[in-house]
């Protein structure tokens, strides 16, 4: 398909978004990323039945934590797409990048890492 998506998106592969713990997302922010989004399978199509639904709840929880910390809940999001939706993947990468760019750099920024995908 040779689709383009922003180069600042860094992909972290996990077996299922159900693997993504709250702490993993927080550690990403501690390392200085500006935003994190999870790209999970479509709802109802999780190979492990509820992995993406668990991830969705955890993302909601992390949003409350980020609000508490003062980074803002908009810096973390959950997206759902199938592995056959390359177009959607690129679209989401652009959408999230634009969103994070409008929020500006993370106030806890340390290094040059821009944003991070888990999923």
């Amino acid at each position: 398909m040779r689709l383009n998506y922003p180069t600042n998106v860094k992909i972290v592969k996990v077996p299922c978004t159900g693997r993504v713990d709250v702490l993993l997302i927080l550690k990403a922010f501690e390392s200085g990323v500006d935003g994190v989004y999870l790209a999970g399978c479509l709802e109802g199509e999780c190979h492990f039945l509820r992995g993406n639904l668990r991830a969705k709840k955890r993302v909601q929880y992390v949003k409350t934590l980020l609000d508490e910390v003062g980074l803002g809940s908009g810096r973390v999001e959950m997206y759902n797409m199938s592995s056959a939706q390359g177009q959607r993947f690129a679209e989401v990468a652009r959408e999230m990048t634009e969103k994070i760019r409008s929020l500006g750099p993370s106030p806890v920024k340390k290094q040059g890492v821009r944003s991070k995908v888990i999923g």
């Binding site: 927080l26 934590l65 508490e68 910390v69 806890v108």
Partner: protein, 222 residues
Amino acid sequence: MIVANRKTLEEILAMLKPYKKVLLLGCNECVTVCATGGEREVGVLASELRLSRAKEGQEIEIKEQTLERQCDHEYIDQVRPFVGDYEVILSMACGAGIQYVGEKYRTKPVLPAVNTTFLGVTLEQGVWSERCQGCGTCILDQTGGICPIARCAKSLLNGPCGGSSNGKCEVDKDLDCAWQLIVDRLKELGQLDRYEEIIPVKDWTTSRDGGPRRRIREDLKL
């Protein structure tokens, strides 16, 4: 189990304001089961604190440690080798654990990261409910195994009151009337005649009214 709620980050940050080196202590018992102060919650709080301080451009060093229990001195002793390296201890245990840590390290301020709330059960994952108030004189044999002290908003010994409506308490429409539960349970047990028995005025000296309580088993003492 003892159920607790974590304090807000704002409250915790305010308590920690003067400190840069923090020993954050979790507990592997009740507060782990109610997902308030176990190893995972210690990690989340430590991360939140680091992010908050980093955002303000302030330093903080946090040592994360989760003890088997904070209500037994042999576990509290495990932090003795390095407790001196930190300015303050922030405990995520119940009120008993927080105080006991303070008693063992008298020169260190020990701060509470949680509000200890009640003795309860897990209704489902993520939902806990109060069952016991530790009054010191159990009457569950008379009330169909349902405690009116802990579960009736008025702790009525002979209920229900006029605020009971359709099995719910007037305090909260989602709250079961304890006395309705008691009557229903006594019916199921075929013991409804027990409902006729008047429970006399309770002797509260076994509860908090008798002052802080203590239990001694001479045969177990070393």
